[in-house]
Symmetry: C2
Subunit: 418 residues, 2 copies
């Protein structure tokens, strides 16, 4: 590969939104697959779900008591209690066999199915029962509003109601609704397979002892965790030294088996910045290689054989920001979700003074706090691109525009949920 | 079992906090186990992590450029540029072999290890190089602050710094730090095994067609999802009809193999409320069976052979609230976490009028929204205990105290993050 190409370091910086727009054009939702509901937690629905029947599907008692005709009790009072013949006892789960006629009632349990003819349930505590010759009677000493303690067919969900939409993550509420609607199997979007290749001759494997000039590879485990956070599947390709031929060969071997390939490291302008060479090699179509932002300005994207390749910075903080701004939204789009969720960006008060003057937009790792009905976001520490420790505890990125002077504590800023 | 015991329905209602306090006394953190870091995502650290070495572990260059002695450049200016002999080229990952003496410099890459004698890195763009007879020189035309572009040993993390604490969930930042510190294996608290038994003769399996008086079991899939949300492992015991002997027998078989056993349904006061009988049967020590709250007031807890048994309501909404108030904090404690996380409760503005008068504290399923720096919480719909659909999208519970009149939109209420 040619180290002497004249425009090797000449880069045109895009605004983050422009880079996102270019990237998203290359992404379509992945195909779907059927999984048992028990395995669907955390997956993404690939279809809209409409109620196949009303819910409840029968007239259901909300109380333990007696199913009656409200009109039979219109005149009931402590002075003039009314007695009804008990014709049946209806546990929940068992269909009643007898319709309620004038002067009749059936004992019914919570969740039980109302018998035909009845329209109301009188709660047990408002009744007394007695045995009369060959049958039982229930005595009630007040009238009750017609329909009380009865959940009508479809009162929670009418048949055909749109319940869940494609792109929705399956959590507790979604699981309950899918089960109630009879979806023992659900169609979900296939998890994106995201390959991770770490570059850099300075990298040790995690288990290796420290050695001079070496650090352990922390970006691959971080990226794997971020990929899992997105509901995608990391594929670890290991690490390569600063050797563009070797890196290109691993990329060529792997890109066919994944949906997107990430690299970390080697994207700046040093003599040994391996990804710069890979990205300039034949077959690679560059989409962008510079973003007007800090950290993460050398974040680069390209395509190779129809697949996306995103080259992230080797600096952990810049790698983290690059992932959240470009890779996470791309994965959401692959999962049939919106690249940015509703309410993902929000306004919040800055938790402490921000003194730094910026020529570029900055994304600062920060933590959200809710205090007395107001929202505060406070940087988790120094935002140097190299720092790992400020990633811990960060739940948002504060977006700081180019500034000629700092911002005071309390200033309303934009932040992005992670 | 004795259906006629006189105090079968006599219950003493506890405040939620009192019930939580009683429950938590029976819970200790589970033992830990070692897992590869690659499998540790979402698990809970069982040990504090202190930095085993400083980070960076060597003096690291933050730029591509030349490692120099700042004192050699004190007089450098455009008029009086200073030239230094280049004695070595130091890629990242390779330890320098030569110390920098007066008048000397070494080429160094981003992330490279500074050679002895040097104290400063001059960025490449500020230098010109040339060949002189048998050696190369670099020419610099301004002085630079001593130490610039050098990350000193330990400047990010000093050796012994407390980095992560027991009880912390392992996400992206934690994974990066653990990798950097050489933890190829980490000790994590064992996942709690949470058994789920659904009771009720009205329950169909998810795949079964609808039948009169029947509904499908939606609580077991919902609870399984909630258990996974907590980082625990659901164990599905299936469903039993309203038959206390059968239910007790399944509980006896299973309670030894799980850390906590949940049931749904059968806890109110109907003739067929199976769990009421199970909880009154020999060997079961009742902890509480009524909470002064809505929904979920019949939520019951007991111990059996040293294990906890929590009987949740069969109404999906009440089951959901009971899980979040009692089971989720118990699982957090088993996972060596605090039962309630910092900032779990917060103040927020009510998103719409709340008209209902309450004799009891209510927990309303709701959604948080951040608007212009303020926090709003809006009920996801009707909060009837039977409703499933308001669980979807709920990310908090609004706690409404007993009220004689409703609350207006904008009122500051307490909410609990889910």
């Amino acid at each position: 590969m040619d180290h002497n190409q004249p425009d090797r370091f000449r880069r045109h910086a895009l605004q983050p939104e422009e880079a996102q727009r270019i990237l998203f054009e290359y992404i379509s939702p992945l195909p779907d697959e059927a999984v048992p509901l028990a395995d669907a937690w955390g997956r993404t629905l690939s279809q809209d779900i409409n109620a196949p029947h009303p819910f409840p599907p029968f007239r259901r008692s909300g109380m333990d008591g007696f199913a009656v005709r409200a009109q039979d009790l219109l005149e009931a009072s402590p002075q003039m209690p009314i007695s009804l013949d008990i014709i049946e006892s209806i546990p929940s789960g068992v269909a009643p066999t007898r319709a309620i006629g004038p002067g009749q009632a059936s004992r019914i349990m919570t969740g039980g199915m109302l018998p035909d003819g009845s329209d109301t349930v009188v709660m047990l505590e408002m009744t007394t029962t007695a045995e009369r010759e060959e049958h039982s009677i229930v005595t009630i000493s007040r009238s009750v509003p017609k329909g009380i303690n009865v959940a009508d067919i479809g009162c929670e969900i009418e048949q055909g109601t749109h319940l869940l939409h494609a792109g929705q993550r399956i959590g507790a509420g979604e699981s309950a609704l899918l089960a109630a609607c009879g979806y023992a199997e659900v169609r979900v979007t296939r998890r994106p397979r995201v390959a991770i290749l770490s570059t850099g001759s300075e990298l040790l494997e995690i288990h290796e002892p420290l050695a001079p000039a070496k650090i352990r590879n922390s970006n691959a485990p971080m990226l794997a965790a971020l990929i899992k956070d997105c509901g995608a599947e990391p594929v670890l390709l290991g690490q390569v030294p600063d050797d563009a031929v070797k890196a290109r060969s691993i990329i060529d071997e792997s890109i066919g088996t994944c949906d997107i390939l990430l690299t970390s490291g080697g994207v700046s302008v040093g003599d040994y910045d391996v990804m710069v060479d890979v990205l300039a090699s034949p077959g690679v179509e560059l989409l962008f290689n510079k973003i007007a932002m800090r950290p993460g300005s050398p974040t680069t994207a390209a395509t190779l054989r129809g697949k996306l390749l995103v080259a992230l910075s080797g600096n952990p903080g810049a790698c983290f920001v690059g992932f959240h701004l470009f890779v996470a939204p791309a994965l959401r789009k692959m999962l049939s979700q919106q690249p940015f969720t509703a309410n993902q960006s929000f306004k919040a008060h800055l938790g402490k003074d921000f003194a730094k003057v910026n020529a570029y937009r900055r994304y600062i790792r920060a933590r959200t706090e809710l205090k007395d009905g107001t929202v505060w976001v406070t940087p988790t520490g120094d935002d140097k691109s190299s720092l790992m420790k400020t990633i811990v505890g960060a739940d948002c990125l504060i977006e700081i525009p180019p500034l000629k002077e700092g911002l005071a504590k309390g200033h309303l800023v934009t932040a992005w949920k992670l």
